[in-house]
């Protein structure tokens, strides 16, 4: 005996309401819970689905939620490795050289104060544009939330905060800095952001490939 779509949906909604927000982890949990319930029914349990489900959750909910937290931790670790590896790729090197030359040229034509303003505005602008696009897509197309993509967003958000903090603290120092050092500093930040974007694009492709039935 197999569970019907309404019963599967019930498990999915229950887990979603239990803060298992990401579709990639939730689908695995749904399959596990459903397989276990089916196995109970096939072994001769005559109770209805909802009673079996209630007992299952009483016994296993803590383990399932622990799994959720561990999954996010493993995802973060994987993403940090990916970003670091991408920073060392040839594409990142090319990006760094081009952006360095462009900014160095720009810095020679701009006053230090203006450059500092660029440095403050760029991260927040890119963050707002990317965030609005992502959440807009989710709402309009009613797409599922996937862990790695949102954790990348979180990483980008943290980068923005670091940039913003450094930008606020360095307001006075910035004007006295050597142009080369300043441009190198800005480019290092841009390199991190570029790598995060590269990894995000790769993740989206990967999700589309592995989860093609959903997307």
């Amino acid at each position: 005996m197999k569970l019907n779509p309404a019963e599967i949906k019930f498990i999915d909604t229950y887990l979603e309401n239990s803060e298992v927000s990401f579709a990639d982890i939730r689908m695995e949990m749904v399959d596990h819970v459903a397989s276990d319930i089916e196995s109970e029914i096939n072994a001769g349990d005559t109770r209805n689905f909802y009673d079996i489900f209630k007992d299952y959750m009483l016994a296993n909910k803590a383990a399932l939620l622990k799994n959720n937290k561990q999954f996010i931790k493993a995802t973060d670790k994987k993403l940090l490795k990916l970003v670091f590896r991408t920073m060392l790729s040839w594409q990142s090197f090319v990006f760094f050289v081009i952006s360095f030359l462009s900014f160095y040229e720009l810095a020679s034509n701009l006053h230090q104060q203006n450059l500092h303003q660029w440095f403050s505005i760029l991260p927040i602008m890119s963050f707002l544009i990317l965030g609005a696009t992502y959440f807009g897509y989710l709402r309009i197309l009613k797409l599922d939330r996937f862990s790695a993509i949102e954790r990348m967003g979180f990483m980008y958000f943290m980068c923005f905060h670091v940039f913003h903090l450094v930008s606020m603290m360095s307001k006075n120092i910035f004007e006295k800095l050597d142009r080369l050092f300043m441009v190198l500093f800005i480019n290092s930040g841009l390199l991190i952001m570029f790598s995060i974007l590269m990894v995000t694009v790769r993740l989206v492709r990967n999700y589309k490939q592995h989860y093609k039935i959903i997307t």
Partner: protein, 110 residues
């Protein structure tokens, strides 16, 4: 999992070994296979199994494939090339460990 502390260190090896014997497996299938092979002695909980699977996947030892089965999505795991190599290493390490423990606890058998 009974004697969980003793088994915990070998969980990754158990998963890799099982996957090396099958083309692909999903989480629940792994728990049931382990339960059947050990005649119910070893019961892997989802709180232990999935974090281990995700860690192995993050390390590049496992690849995943998602398929629609029985009205739901099912995530299958299979070994990558480096996963196959790692299985051999882990099995050797486990065999050494068993020999060492046997020499310590039961010198006559070692």
């Amino acid at each position: 999992m009974s004697n969980s502390k003793l088994y915990r260190g070998s969980l990754n090896t158990i998963i890799l070994k099982l996957l090396s014997q099958h083309d692909k497996m999903y989480g629940y299938e792994i728990t049931q296979k382990v339960k059947a092979l050990t005649k119910g002695e070893l019961n892997i909980t989802e709180g232990a199994l999935y974090p281990a699977l995700h860690k192995l996947e993050a390390e590049g030892l496992l690849d995943v494939e998602v398929v629609k089965v029985d009205n739901r999505m099912r995530k299958y795991y299979k070994l990558t090339q480096s996963g196959t190599k790692e299985t051999v290493n882990k099995m050797e390490a486990l065999a050494d460990y068993i020999n060492t423990m046997q020499a310590l606890l039961n010198p006559k058998l070692a």
